[in-house]
Each structure stands twice: as structure tokens, then as C-alpha cells.
């Protein structure tokens, strides 16, 4: 398969996945018990007002017509109007997107920068103290629960040591460089908490694949040819061992975004994750649909890029 058709095929599959995600989201939201009109007016509103609200947002239409309208709007790039805020969903999401991108990209970079070297160290010292310690840390990391980690970090580093602020994304009334410093300071604890719950998977995956790679025949041949251990590790083994980790980055992105919902809520971080939490409590269907669409696109794009990068690292996949 040529590179162009490979990319085209992956992109087509991505579009299909996005359509499927949007449809499932649409149906799931409509199946939710509860009445979105109740979120817009007091619970003791009259039936007349309730009917007006439902009509205003097209919720009185049959499901198929609602779906058709929803898809038609999406094709036109229109994500609809937020039930609760009465402004375009795109505006709601674009206000929050930069913060989520900043948080998740920082957490991802931290996870890779810390996780991969730790996995390499564990594999290099297989069976020794460093290996056992890294494994314990990896397994512990996988079992952490975001809100507990977040509150613990806040309690220690926010309240007791006072090194970092408790919540928000920046301090009011700061400008220029002070604002950027404030943003960085507010970013540390949420990013570290997201990193902590992700890093275990990277460490353990990197460790096991590297150990497996180091026992391959070509590595033994390289050793027999007198190549030095460090050169074998970095030049020959690591590139192959990185393949499953690359896949992991794509797969874990969904979990990272899921983790952001809880992290952003606990740290009062104004991103899309927290927007989802609020939209769920208010049954704000358009915002939820828009947010899930945006997340689906993010995950699909990330996976497509992963596939392409994978193809670059291992040309065999392009022909498979």
C-alpha cells in the first residue's frame, strides 16, 4: 500500500469512527432518564412553560427528526446552542479548549519524559533493586484514583507547604509575564496528578517490551559482534521497543481526557472536562454532544497520527 492510500484509509476509518461516536452519544443522551427542561426552569414550572422550553430546543420532535437535524447541523459545522447558557456550543467549548489542551499536553509530555526512562532503567537493571522499585511504583500508579491524588497534592503542596495555588488556572489581575508564570504555577498540580495516574502504564509497557526486545536474535548477534551494551540499547533495541509505547500514547489519550474531567473538577480548572461535568448535571445535551464530538475527533486524530508514525517506525504495517 502506498503512503498516500495508507493515510487515506486511516483517515476514512477515523471519519467513520467519529460518525459512530456522534450517533452513540446522541442516542445515549436521549436515553438518559431526566428532563432537560427541569434544568432550565424551576421544578415547579407549569406544563405550558415546560412545553415551550422543549419546543424551543426541538426536544418535542420525534427522535429520528432530532437526529437528522443534529447531523445536518454538524455537517454545516454548527454544534447548536447550549440549553443553559443560550450561546453557541462552539463558543462554550472554544473558551475551555485551550485550558484542556494545555493541561493534557503537559501531562502527556511529563508522562512520556518520566515514564519511558523509568521503563528503560527497569529493563536495563532487570531483577535488581531499581527494577523492583520501578515495578512497584508502576503498579501503584495504575491503581491511583484521581480525586484522592488531587486532594492529597492540594493538601500537602497547596495548603501546608503553600507552594502552589489551590484552584483555578491563573490569578486575577496578573498581566504579561506574571500571568504566564501564574498559569504555569496553577498548572503544576493538575498536570502532576494526571501524570501520576498515567505514568504506571508507560513504565510497565516500556519495561516489558524492552526486556523482550533485548532477548531478540538480532540483539544477541549485535552483542556477539562486540557492540557495546549502551549502543545496543539506544541504537537498536529502543526503536523497536518504542512501538507498543507509541500505540499506548494513542490509546491512553482517551483515558487522559477522561482523567481530565475529574482533575479539572477537583482543581477548579476551567477546561472541557469540567464543562462536561457541569453539562451532565444540567442535562445540557448540545454541550455534551459538542464536547464528546471534540473529544472523539481528538482521540481519532491522535490515533490516526499514531498509526502513521507507527508506519514510519515499522514499515511492515503499511503493507499489512
Amino acid at each position: 500500500m502506498s503512503r498516500a492510500s495508507f493515510i487515506l484509509s486511516r483517515s476514512g476509518r477515523g471519519l467513520l469512527t467519529i460518525w459512530f461516536a456522534v450517533t452513540v452519544t446522541f442516542l445515549l443522551l436521549r436515553l438518559l432518564p431526566g428532563d432537560p427542561a427541569l434544568a432550565l426552569a424551576s421544578p415547579n414550572m407549569t406544563d405550558e412553560i415546560r412545553a415551550t422550553i422543549l419546543e424551543q430546543y426541538g426536544l418535542d420532535q420525534p427522535l429520528l427528526i432530532q437526529y437528522g437535524l443534529c447531523m445536518w447541523q454538524l455537517v454545516q459545522g454548527n454544534l447548536g446552542i447550549s440549553f443553559t447558557q443560550s450561546i453557541p456550543v462552539l463558543d462554550v467549548l472554544l473558551q475551555r479548549l485551550p485550558w484542556t489542551l494545555l493541561l493534557t499536553v503537559t501531562a502527556l509530555v511529563l508522562t512520556i519524559v518520566i515514564g519511558i526512562p523509568l521503563g528503560v532503567a527497569a529493563a536495563s537493571f532487570k531483577g535488581r533493586f531499581i527494577d523492583r522499585a520501578v515495578q512497584v511504583l508502576g503498579v501503584t500508579g495504575q491503581s491511583l484514583f484521581v480525586p484522592s491524588v488531587a486532594i492529597l497534592l492540594l493538601f500537602v503542596f497547596g495548603l501546608n507547604l503553600g507552594w502552589f495555588p489551590i484552584g483555578g488556572a491563573y490569578t486575577n489581575n496578573t498581566y504579561g509575564m506574571d500571568w504566564y508564570l501564574s498559569v504555569a504555577q496553577h498548572l503544576v498540580l493538575p498536570a502532576v496528578s494526571l501524570m501520576l495516574i498515567q505514568v504506571g502504564s508507560y513504565v510497565l509497557t516500556m519495561r516489558s517490551t524492552l526486556i523482550e526486545t533485548l532477548s531478540e536474535d538480532y540483539i544477541l548477534l549485535a552483542k556477539a559482534n562486540g557492540l557495546r551494551g549502551r549502543r545496543i540499547l539506544w541504537k537498536h533495541a529502543l526503536r523497536n521497543a518504542l512501538l507498543p509505547t507509541t500505540t499506548l500514547i494513542g490509546l491512553q489519550l482517551g483515558f487522559l481526557v477522561g482523567g481530565a474531567v475529574l482533575t479539572e473538577t477537583v482543581f477548579a480548572y476551567p477546561g472541557i472536562g469540567r464543562g462536561i461535568y457541569e453539562a451532565v448535571t444540567q442535562l445540557d445535551f448540545p454541550v455534551l454532544q459538542g464536547a464528546f464530538l471534540m473529544l472523539a475527533v481528538t482521540v481519532v486524530v491522535a490515533n490516526t497520527i499514531t498509526d502513521i508514525v507507527y508506519g514510519y517506525l515499522d514499515p511492515r504495517v503499511k503493507t499489512s
Binding site: 432518564p33 489542551l101 504579561g176 477537583v266 482543581f267 477548579a268
Partner: protein, 539 residues
């Protein structure tokens, strides 16, 4: 191979540029608010939710009300004993059975310099009625025909039928908005009032200046505010900051990041925060109640003896002591709560927790217990899982009912489902609470008249109906109190509602601030406009 590297570098650069484009950018000085003077302090307040609606006639959430109440005045306020007291209105009442009136102050101006007159009051009332702006305010206007400004300071309301509560209720729940700003926007029900059209015009101690959804809402002091002593509010700015997680919010208070928590503290946190250095905990009387309602559309629950049995199978004192940690008061199983001092009737006593009595009432109702002492019937009790206090006491209700041989199945659901089930009458027993039940006649009409919006018992008792309807058209206060006490006795005897307690509320603040004026209910508490205008840093 080289071209691949360039390709990878190019892709990385493109990604970096696109991320940079999406990255948050720093505001320029002047883009958002800053302190107006070096000697003035900013009062930071924590809340758990964002503003949903800046239009005060639509706003439904607590945060909406807390912020818009600082900009749009109510005609009346409420005192600690539950009676309405003056705010913008200095006098109010009835000209005759179908005409009410408000006399308002003559020294108030909107923040753009225009005077606040009776025209603004009348226009607001008529516009909300005309456009059916969904919300609590509109719900109070059922018997309003029209409002007319008969002078700069007097508004008269023509009613469609006699209603002895409407003047108090509109005065308390309704706000006044500037006609000259809202009228050109068309329907009052569709005006977002989000400041996008040149900012906000209001009349209160503070005016919204800047906000960032998910982060903060900054309100600047209004220099001329005649309703507070001295005429100038204490803090230069009030900033509401959003912490969706209440634990984070408490940490923010302890760390000094905020000065006040606007929402009532969970009962379990009150004692701990009371003993924390640097903090003060301020009490506000509750203005509502928690209750159990038995759905009379279910044949078993239509029997008075069964409802009475269920009422005697609840250990009220244990619930108040254990779950509420002593922060609740008994209402005497009465819808006329002690906080409504004029109406409270201490001759009505709380249902006694007596499992044996409950058993004999069930037998009187025709049920026979099996060998294990369990009656062959069970009731499904619904409650909201988001309401942690009710979630805890629902379990106690189940356990104590079991002692009387009555089986209760708990069905906790997320709040929206719970509301939908409530609306559909899909329950045997409803457990919940109302935040503000400030007016007995209105409360009884909504709760116990057929078709009442919160008549969750589905009661239709001709004797009770007649008393409530009589209360609605009785303008003499003593006579009205007597009628409502009689109605309350029927509700109590027939167990049309099982009122369990009024929860008193506790609010935490830094002890570096003083001057707060606490008012009943979470809606007003220490973040009511007069309180925040009176707050000042401790020297």
C-alpha cells in the same frame, strides 16, 4: 532518509504552532477589572457552580442569584423571624382585595445615572408576566393582572382575584430591572444580559465588571449605595471564584485564597471549621424543611392509618443528632416551622417514634404480619443521590421502619432522574427538602391544593382546600394565622406531609473580615447584598 526527518520536523513545528494558537493567552491590563484603590480590599467568595444566566428574572441557580442580587434589587427582604421587611419598598400592602401597592424609595439610581422609579418596577412585573419568563419570579405572578406606576414612587398591582400573599411574595422573590436597558432588547425572557452589549446597568452595592467562565466573576463597588450604613459598600471588589469540589473550596478558604464560602457547609465540616484558627463560622436560620411525602394515589398509602404508621416509624431525633450533627431543629412535624415565628403553633407535636404503635396502626389498616413480624407490603422511597444528607437519613428511615415490620426499598438516583420521577408521581414515598418556604399560604396552596405544583402527596381534602382558599383571601393577619394553624392541624393529623426538621445553615469565612449580616436561607445567608456591602476588613 533526510527528507523524512524534515517531514517530521515540519509536522512537529506545525503541531507546535497550532497548539500555540490554541494556548491560553495573557490578558492586557485594562482588559479586566483591577482594584479601584490601594486602601480597599477585595472580598473573594467561593462558589461551586458557574453562573448559568445573568438575566435576574430567569436565573435559577444559587450562584445566579448571589451575583445578580448584588446588581438588581428586590423590593423586600426578610428578617430572622421570617417576616418580610423593607428594602427598596418602604411600604406595601393592599388598597382593596384586588389591588396591592408598593411605595419605593426616592433616592435610588441605576449605575448609569438614571433614577430607579416605580416605572421600572411596573415594567419589570408586566414584562415577566407578558413574556412568561420561566423561573420562580414568574411563578409568583399567577394572580397578577397588571402593574401600574401611579407616581414616581408608587406602584399599584391589579389582581385577577383576591390574593393575600402576592404582595409579600412578589416583593421577596421578584427583582427590579432597568426598563431603559431591558425594554429595547425585546422579550425579557430571551435577553442574555451577559454584558456583551456594553456591560451591565444595575442598582446594588456592586456591579459586574468582568468574568471568565469557570474561573471568576468580578464585581466592582458602586460608590453610592444608600441602602447600607454610610452609603458606600465596604469591599472595593467582590470576586466570586468557582470551585466545583467542596473539599477544594474548603482548602482554598483555609489557605487564604478565598475569604468566604457562599454555599452552606456540609454538617460534618461545621465543627472542624469552627475550631480552625483564622476562620469564623456564622449561622443562618434555615427557611425550609426536609420531609417525607406519602403518595396517596397508591391505594395502601391512601389509608390514613398506613401514613400514620409510617410517621411513627421514623426516629426523628436520631436523624437530627446523627446525620445533621445537631444542626437541625424539630418543626413539631409541622409545615408551620418555628422560623415563621408568627405562625408557629407549639401545640402541634412531633410524631413520636414508636415502632409498636406503628405496628398496631398497620393492623388497624388491615395488614397482618408474618411469623417474622413483617407486613406483606413494601414501599419504594425515592431520593436524590446528590443530596448527601437525605441519602444518609433515607437509610435510617428504612432501618427504623423495619423495626415496625414495614419494608422500605430505597431508590436513590441522580438529581435529574429524581426530579423527573417526582414530576411523574413515580414513587411511593418521596424524600427531599425545600430550601425556602417563606409564606405559609403560598406553601400550603402549592403543597396541598389539588393541582398544586408540589402536591407530591396528591392530596385533595375538601376541608383543607376550603381553609387554604380562605387563607388566600383573608387580609387580616391574626385571622389568617388562625386559619393556617387550623389547616396545619389537618395536615398533621392526616399525615399529608411529614415534616422532619429545619436545617440551620452554617457559613465559613476568614476572621480577617467582619460586618456580615446573616439572613435566613442559603439564598441570602451572609452573601446577601446588605451583608456584603457591610463587610469590612478587620483592622
Amino acid at each position: 532518509m533526510k527528507h523524512k526527518r524534515y517531514l517530521a520536523l515540519g509536522a512537529a513545528a506545525a503541531l507546535a504552532v497550532s497548539l500555540t494558537a490554541c494556548a491560553p493567552s495573557a490578558p492586557e491590563p485594562g482588559e479586566s477589572s483591577s482594584s479601584t484603590g490601594p486602601s480597599d480590599e477585595t472580598l473573594s467568595i467561593g462558589t461551586t457552580t458557574d453562573v448559568v444566566n445573568f438575566n435576574p428574572v430567569l436565573g435559577n441557580s444559587r450562584t445566579d442569584s448571589w451575583i445578580t442580587n448584588l446588581m438588581y434589587p428586590h423590593l423586600l427582604s426578610i428578617s430572622e423571624d421570617g417576616t418580610k421587611e423593607e428594602h427598596v419598598a418602604t411600604d406595601w400592602g393592599y388598597v382593596d382585595d384586588t389591588t396591592g401597592f408598593y411605595e419605593i424609595r426616592d433616592d435610588l439610581t441605576w449605575s448609569d445615572g438614571e433614577p430607579l422609579t416605580a416605572e421600572d418596577v411596573a415594567w419589570t412585573l408586566n414584562a415577566v408576566k407578558r413574556d412568561q419568563a420561566p423561573g420562580t419570579f414568574y411563578g409568583q405572578l399567577g394572580n397578577l393582572d397588571t402593574a401600574t406606576a401611579v407616581s414616581d414612587t408608587r406602584v399599584e398591582l391589579t389582581l385577577t382575584q383576591p390574593d393575600s400573599s402576592i404582595i409579600d411574595e412578589i416583593g421577596f422573590w421578584g427583582v427590579v430591572v432597568p426598563q431603559h436597558v431591558f425594554e429595547p432588547q425585546g422579550s425579557i425572557a430571551e435577553f442574555a444580559n451577559d454584558g456583551s452589549d456594553g456591560g451591565w446597568v444595575g442598582m446594588g452595592p456592586f456591579i459586574l465588571d468582568d468574568f471568565q467562565v469557570g474561573q471568576h466573576y468580578t464585581l466592582k463597588r458602586v460608590e453610592d449605595y444608600p441602602l447600607v450604613d454610610g452609603g458606600v459598600p465596604g469591599p472595593a471588589e467582590v470576586v466570586y471564584r468557582v470551585y466545583p469540589d467542596v473539599n477544594t473550596e474548603i482548602l482554598a478558604l483555609q489557605s487564604g485564597e478565598i475569604d468566604v464560602i457562599a454555599n452552606a457547609l456540609p454538617p460534618a465540616q461545621v465543627e472542624q471549621l469552627s475550631n480552625s484558627s483564622g476562620l469564623q463560622v456564622i449561622e443562618a436560620p434555615g427557611l425550609g424543611y426536609a420531609h417525607l411525602v406519602y403518595n396517596m394515589e397508591k391505594p395502601d398509602l391512601a389509608k390514613t392509618e398506613v401514613r400514620q404508621a409510617l410517621a411513627h416509624a421514623v426516629d426523628y431525633e436520631a436523624i437530627r443528632t446523627v446525620v445533621l450533627q445537631g444542626q437541625a431543629v424539630s418543626t413539631g412535624s409541622s409545615a408551620l416551622m418555628p422560623v415563621l415565628a408568627k405562625y408557629y403553633d407549639d401545640s402541634v407535636e412531633e410524631y413520636e417514634f414508636d415502632p409498636e404503635k406503628a405496628r398496631s396502626l398497620m393492623e388497624e389498616a388491615g395488614y397482618t404480619a408474618d411469623a417474622d413480624g413483617v407486613f406483606p407490603i413494601s414501599f419504594r422511597l425515592i431520593y436524590s443521590l446528590q443530596d448527601s444528607v437525605t441519602s444518609q437519613w433515607a437509610q435510617l428511615v428504612k432501618d427504623t421502619a423495619a423495626e415496625a415490620g414495614i419494608t422500605i426499598e430505597l431508590q436513590g438516583t441522580e438529581r435529574n432522574t429524581y426530579l423527573a420521577m417526582t414530576n411523574a408521581g413515580d414513587y411511593d414515598i418521596y424524600a427531599g427538602n425545600f430550601a425556602i418556604m417563606d409564606d405559609p399560604v403560598t406553601n400550603f396552596a402549592l403543597s396541598y391544593l389539588p393541582g398544586g405544583a408540589i402536591n407530591y402527596t396528591h392530596v385533595d381534602d375538601p376541608e383543607l382546600n376550603a381553609l387554604i382558599e380562605e387563607g388566600m383571601v383573608t387580609f387580616d393577619e391574626d385571622e389568617k394565622i388562625s386559619i393556617m394553624r387550623e389547616a396545619n392541624k389537618i395536615v398533621h393529623e392526616q399525615v399529608y406531609d411529614n415534616i422532619m426538621y429545619t436545617q440551620n445553615l452554617f457559613f465559613a469565612a476568614s476572621d480577617e473580615w467582619a460586618g456580615f449580616i446573616s439572613k435566613p436561607s442559603e439564598l441570602l445567608s451572609i452573601v446577601n447584598p446588605l451583608s456584603l456591602a457591610s463587610a469590612h476588613p478587620v483592622e
